[in-house]
């Protein structure tokens, strides 16, 4: 009797589960379709209005023009050499600046976060430096370091540094004192406390800042190239601007967007790997 009842209930449950799964798939397809439609409407509308001269393609460009420009760059290169060289130059500057800025930010964040005296002394200066518009430093770096890639990497590093620093600092300050006390009693040295408790604990904060930081490193590289360079996507944009070529500006923008999205994807992968220990959600954390 009870067996019959159980299997009936089980059949019901698998039926419900299948229904739920089907509903979920249908919803996801709907979202994708709506996204494609949105893109089509925006680009199609832009192209249509540009063709009908409702918006002036001389000022606003048009999708087909952007495509033509990109194709031209791929096939014949830009005014400063192949497109790949421009991309690689900007990417290299951004990555160097990112690496430099992140390491500096984490290092100083750990240092000032753990040393009350140092943070009291240097705190106001850090805040003051954060308050000045650092993008202007780009001009100084071009004067100091020339038109090569170094000045751009340094500008990118300065922009990245502050974002990462403030997060690392805050992360260190938020470390659970209980955990620190526990590992100290277990025999950890100062360095071991930093490595085993402070750094992993602050990592959540630091990684959260990396998303914004990479965007800043690209901005640093591009603006640096604006201010004076021999190659790079920033220079390509500056040239397009000088030639009243909106398609060129949009084309370079598109390339940068692809780079940034790829980086975002990679950072997310790293994040998931490094923070694998975190409970999936607060609701499930209490259960065991």
């Amino acid at each position: 009797m009870s067996v019959v009842f159980d299997s009936a209930a089980l059949g019901d449950e698998s039926q419900i589960a299948a229904d739920l799964r089907r509903k979920k798939i249908r919803r996801r397809l709907l979202v994708y379709a709506a996204r494609a439609l949105t893109l089509f409407l925006v680009l199609g509308g832009w192209e249509l209005f540009a063709n009908l001269k409702i918006v002036d393609p001389f000022f606003f460009g048009q999708p087909s023009g952007v495509y033509q420009t990109l194709r031209h760059w791929v096939e014949h290169g830009t005014a400063y050499g192949s497109l790949w060289l421009q991309i690689w130059t900007t990417l290299k500057e951004a990555l160097e600046g990112f690496a430099l800025g992140v390491s500096g930010g984490v290092l100083f964040g750990l240092l000032l976060g753990q040393n009350r005296f140092l943070s009291d002394v240097l705190g106001p200066y850090v805040k003051a430096m954060n308050a000045i518009p650092r993008i202007v430093l780009g001009s100084i770096f071009v004067i100091w370091l020339g038109f090569g890639t170094t000045s751009k990497a340094v500008l990118a590093a300065v922009l990245v540094f502050f974002v990462v620093f403030f997060n690392a600092y805050q992360g260190v300050r938020e470390v659970d004192r209980n955990l620190v006390a526990n590992v100290r009693v277990l025999g950890a040295s100062r360095l071991q406390v930093t490595r085993q408790v402070v750094l992993p604990s602050a990592l959540t904060w630091i990684i959260a800042s990396l998303h914004v930081a990479f965007g800043f490193s690209i901005i640093g590289a591009i603006v640096g190239e604006f201010l004076g360079a021999q190659k790079g996507l920033g220079l390509v944009i500056a040239t397009a601007q000088g030639n009243f070529d909106p398609n060129g500006v949009f084309g370079a923008m598109l390339i940068i967007a692809v780079i940034a999205l790829t980086a975002e994807f990679l950072i997310e992968r790293i994040e998931r790997r490094l923070l694998a220990w975190r409970p999936p959600s607060h609701a499930e954390a209490g259960l065991a």
Binding site: A181, V183, V185, L186, G187, Q196, W277, A285
Partner: protein, 293 residues
């Protein structure tokens, strides 16, 4: 009043049995004051005298905010007394003392480390290579009944299991002194009883000297050799009671119905009640100070 002499046999099994006269833990006239954010000074404990003999299980009970936890941090070396001396094995405590382990009230496991990694921390901090450290940790996990959970993360365990991991992590260092700050306070009644039994079983194996802070008097009597009653804050030792219940005690759930247990409970509660009432009256009128500081 506060000085206690433990039975001779307690010292025999202990590692430095050569120094019979030296207590494992000795607090003499210890006072601890904290500066408050408002600029005044808050006295957590005042003139505390306490002696724990080697291998003795000492429970400290007292109302909320009487400085029980502060006493533990002074013994562990996490903090220093403002006046008086805390001695461990006869030497004044100066920084984290070797051979002292601490089990905290809240979970103090590293959430980014697996259960095995957490338990192996102690040996690794003492310079033992990863492999033997993990082997020892595995052995301890087996002893606390968590075989098979080595690769879980703390958040995947129940509260009781996390406490077991904490116990294993504390005991793996083979401490001669074990400080426990309301270790089972956050557990439900049944889990607490089970954990108490397991703690006693583990303690009987290596017999470290224990200070066990709790505000559960029944728990204190069921586990300890001596029960110290502290006054309302600034805390000081009000009375010390020898618990002459035979060991091994057996299940803590059953011992509490024995006549001797009930008599002791009655006697100690008479002393504790007035402090609890005073503490309650105080919290009702002001909430100035945080708990247990």
């Amino acid at each position: 009043m506060a000085i206690l002499m433990a039975p001779e046999q307690a010292t025999e099994s202990f590692r430095d049995s050569g120094r019979h006269a030296t207590p494992a833990i000795e607090l003499s006239k210890v006072t601890k004051r904290f500066p408050t954010p408002s600029g005044s000074v808050f006295t957590a404990i005042r003139d505390v005298n306490l002696v724990v003999e080697p291998g003795q299980f000492c429970a400290v009970v007292g109302p909320t905010g009487c400085g029980k936890s502060t006493t533990l941090t002074l013994v562990s070396g996490l903090d220093r007394p403002s006046a008086g001396v805390a001695r461990v094995h006869g030497a004044p405590v100066d920084g984290i003392a070797e051979g002292t382990s601490f089990v905290f009230q809240a979970d103090a496991l590293l959430p980014w480390k697996t259960v095995l990694g957490n338990v192996a921390l102690g040996p690794i901090f003492h310079g033992i290579a990863r492999k033997p450290a993990h082997a020892t940790a595995r052995d301890w996990l087996r002893r606390v009944g968590l075989k098979g959970f080595e690769d879980h993360y703390p958040h995947q365990l129940s509260g009781g299991m996390r406490k077991r991991v904490g116990l294993a992590a504390a005991l793996i260092n083979d401490p001669s002194i074990l400080l426990m700050d309301e270790p089972f306070g956050a557990l439900d009644v049944q889990t607490k009883a089970i954990m108490s039994n397991e703690l006693l079983a583990l303690w009987e194996q290596t017999k470290p000297s224990v200070i066990f802070v709790t505000h559960d008097l029944e728990e204190a009597i069921a586990l300890a050799d001596t029960v110290v009653v502290m006054t309302v804050g600034p805390g000081t030792v009000k009375a010390v009671y020898d618990i002459d219940l035979p060991r091994p005690r057996g299940a803590v759930q059953e011992i509490r119905f024995e006549p001797r247990f009930l008599a002791l409970h009655q006697q100690i509660w008479d002393s504790l009640r007035s402090e609890v009432e005073r503490a309650y009256a105080r919290t009702a009128t002001s909430t100035e100070h945080g708990e247990d500081r």
